[in-house]
């Protein structure tokens, strides 16, 4: 009669046991990281994204560090970038440091959100590294309140990737596209389209990366120097950038894409003649081996009418942050010893992984002087390193992505002609002010 008990009770018990007992591996660490402070704890955890880039870089640094510090254990945990943001926000918000890593990689555009909201959660690295040792523009996002929190990592320096064969067909040489402004870019784009039938570039109208690149080339941003006040209405550089953005679409030289895979496909399939974007696109460009020798990289175009605009800008890029959880001194030591000062490590990072760092002392050397056959023997990394030093410094502030959400809706109104440029700028400013109060 009672044989249901014989089955069900063990079943329920085993279900609980199954989930409870199997936590062995991970929970011992987190349990140990609680309790009283132990700044010199010898086991540290690091969160980052992209196995082929940031994680690979960490592994190289870990290997080098382990030679002199065999007593330190470094756990590298891979998480997608959006996931790291979510986990950090939840963890920091709940006020418990359990489960938080010792070191975390944060994108420069977002860094100030974390630093300003939770300054106590991050370790001030001023005693270990000097901001002047890194590319100037990296100091903006990585410091707050006079303290240097971040260890600047990869350069998001931009380049203007161009198909030399299409350029030739349209009667141009590389010289004609070097150090040009965006107006010339559009004119050349029209000629290339007439000669080859190919669009000049591909854009996702919802991703305003190109606008950001144009803005930073002039040392301007969505926000004023204080990092809080929206800087849209009356911003001359912004107006020029917006007008250029629209004229690109009006000139019919833009192939539309709607996501990353279509973006990559547009140049892999040879449908567009150029890609003006961050140097992190290099591996994706090189993925189509059949186009070897047909590409070159020249400096990004500048704004014509904005006087201080230069042929160098930035798109993306991240930095490392040490968190104030047990083991923070060990973690700070590891970061300062490797990414914070080791020029030799950066040579390896570049030659093995293609990471372009921002440590000034590392900007020369053999790895940077390697010619790349894919780009017709051009020493692209030496060029990128040079342009990195020229990137204007801006304060990305707290609301880069919040403003971009407002802006991307407004830009659609501008592109389809239902609003003029001043209305778009004023409306964005008003919305941003109301929303970011």
């Amino acid at each position: 009669m009672k044989n249901w008990k014989k089955i069900l009770l063990p079943l329920a018990a085993s279900a609980l046991m199954l989930s409870a007992c199997s936590g062995g591996g991970g929970n011992t660490e987190t349990a140990a990281s609680g309790g009283s402070g132990d700044a010199a704890k010898k086991e540290i955890t690091i969160w980052a994204w992209d196995p082929n880039f940031n994680i690979a870089a960490l592994n190289l640094a870990k290997e080098k560090y382990a030679k002199d510090h065999p007593d330190v254990t470094i756990n590298i945990v891979e998480n997608a970038q959006a996931d790291i943001v979510q986990k950090l926000n939840t963890g920091l918000n709940s006020g418990t440091t359990k489960g938080l890593p010792n070191v975390v990689l944060i994108e420069d555009y977002r860094a100030q959100n974390f630093l300003q909201a939770y300054p106590d959660a991050f370790r001030d690295m001023s005693d270990k590294i000097k901001a002047e040792d890194f590319a100037d523009y990296k100091a903006g996002p990585t410091s707050f309140d006079g303290k240097q929190y971040g260890i600047p990592f990869d350069s998001g320096v931009t380049g203007f990737y161009i198909r030399t064969d299409y350029l030739e067909q349209a009667g141009y040489t590389l010289k004609d596209v070097t150090n040009i402004d965006w107006d010339q870019f559009i004119e050349i784009g029209k000629k290339i389209k007439a000669a080859t039938g190919k669009d000049m570039l591909t854009q996702d109208p919802n991703d305003l990366g190109t606008l950001r690149v144009m803005l930073q080339s002039a040392g301007s941003w969505y926000l004023k120097e204080d990092g809080v006040t929206p800087n849209i209405a009356g911003n001359a550089a912004f107006k020029e950038a917006l007008e250029l953005y629209k004229s690109m679409f009006d000139a019919d030289i833009v192939k539309l894409n709607s996501d990353w895979s279509q973006f990559v496909a547009a140049f892999n399939s040879g449908d567009v003649a150029s890609v003006p974007t961050g140097n992190w696109i290099t591996p994706s460009v090189k993925a189509e081996a059949s186009q070897s020798g047909k590409w070159a990289v020249v400096p990004i175009p500048r704004l014509k009418d904005t006087p201080n605009s230069v042929n160098a800008s930035n798109s993306g890029g991240s930095s490392w942050y040490v968190m104030n959880v047990d083991g923070q001194d060990t973690a700070a030591d590891f970061m300062a010893d490797t990414f914070g000062s080791d020029a030799e490590l950066y040579q390896e990072l570049l030659s093995k992984i293609g990471v372009l760092g921002t440590l000034k002392a590392a900007a020369g050397g053999e790895a940077y002087e390697q010619p790349d056959e894919f780009f017709g023997g051009q020493k692209i990394y030496s060029d990128f390193a040079k342009w990195t030093t020229e990137v204007p410094k801006v304060n990305f502030g707290l609301h880069t992505y919040a403003i971009e959400d407002i802006l991307s809706a407004e830009v659609q109104n501008y592109l389809n002609g239902s609003k003029d440029v001043d209305a778009v700028m004023n409306d964005t400013q008003a919305q941003a002010e109301a929303q970011l109060k």
């Binding site: 009669m1 329920a12 359990k98 990353w260």
Partner: protein, 266 residues
């Protein structure tokens, strides 16, 4: 009529077709939109298994999904049965409050839950942050499941219970020996819903699980796509593998599932 049906069928089948085809192509071909099966199935599989530990993630997901499903079936059905069969003045009020809880988005609960598990970690590390148990505990019963069981119980013939009582069964005996076997189809439908929700659950495991050994399949796939140059062929392969268990569960229980959704009692 058939035109519309074939169109609807095409729309729902195409993503699956694309997923399987893409898993046999190189990343470059995927981005170019190639729709023909390629020859890189084994390459992608090999790349995937050598770069991440997908089998351990599958194991973690299975462990969590199976425990969640078993616990959910037991507890939610007992609750649903209780709400419908037993009489109490307060029961409708309690039930309304329960239903109200369906309206709180999970995002609002996440921070307090995380805090709670942070505290639990101090005393019972096996149930704390970064353990599979911490994933199961807040997710195994939902107001929806209890509601679902209560609705199905409305059609359950009470005469069967009366007959059981006559024959001297205890109240729990009635539940397990009469109710449970009669409601097989409802259980099947609920099990499928719970299993799939648990298998695909992303937000809570993401927040509460930290170490790679505990990673579930959705987290692993999310990581694969995180690179500056994602390998789409490999990602599609991972997605194909992760779909197999849910597809299996669904096909095995399909007959009962359909019956359960329309609410039949044999």
């Amino acid at each position: 009529m058939y035109l519309f049906l074939s169109l609807a069928a095409f729309v729902s089948i195409f993503p699956f077709f694309w997923m399987i085809v893409s898993s046999t192509n190189l990343s470059v071909d995927v981005t170019k939109g190639r729709l023909l099966p390629g020859t890189h199935f084994l390459d992608n599989l090999q790349k995937l298994t050598s770069s991440v530990d997908i089998w351990s993630a599958m194991g973690n997901s299975a462990k969590i999904a199976i425990s969640t499903t078993i616990l959910a079936m037991l507890i939610a059905s007992l609750a649903g049965y209780g709400f419908e069969i037993y009489r109490s003045k307060a029961k409708d009020v309690v039930f309304s409050i329960l239903l109200l809880s369906m309206m709180i988005p999970f995002a609002a609960l996440m921070v307090p839950l995380y805090r709670m598990f942070g505290k639990i970690t101090n005393f019972f590390p096996t149930f704390g942050i970064d353990t599979p148990a911490a994933v199961v505990i807040p997710t195994f019963t939902t107001a929806f499941l209890i509601f679902f069981f209560r609705q199905s119980t409305k059609m359950f013939p009470r005469e069967l219970l009366e007959a059981g009582r006559m024959d001297g069964l205890t109240e729990l005996g009635l539940f397990f020996r009469i109710y449970l076997p009669t409601m097989k189809t409802t259980y099947a439908a609920a099990a499928i819903i719970t299993f799939m929700a648990s298998w695909n659950n992303y937000m809570w495991p993401l927040v509460i699980l930290q170490s790679p050994e505990n990673q579930t399949i959705p987290l692993l796939i999310s990581n694969l796509g995180s690179g500056y140059a994602p390998d789409y062929g490999m990602i599609m392969m991972a997605i194909v593998i992760s779909t197999i268990p849910t597809a299996l569960v669904f096909f095995l229980m399909q007959k009962h599932f359909v019956a359960g959704m329309v609410g039949s009692v044999k």
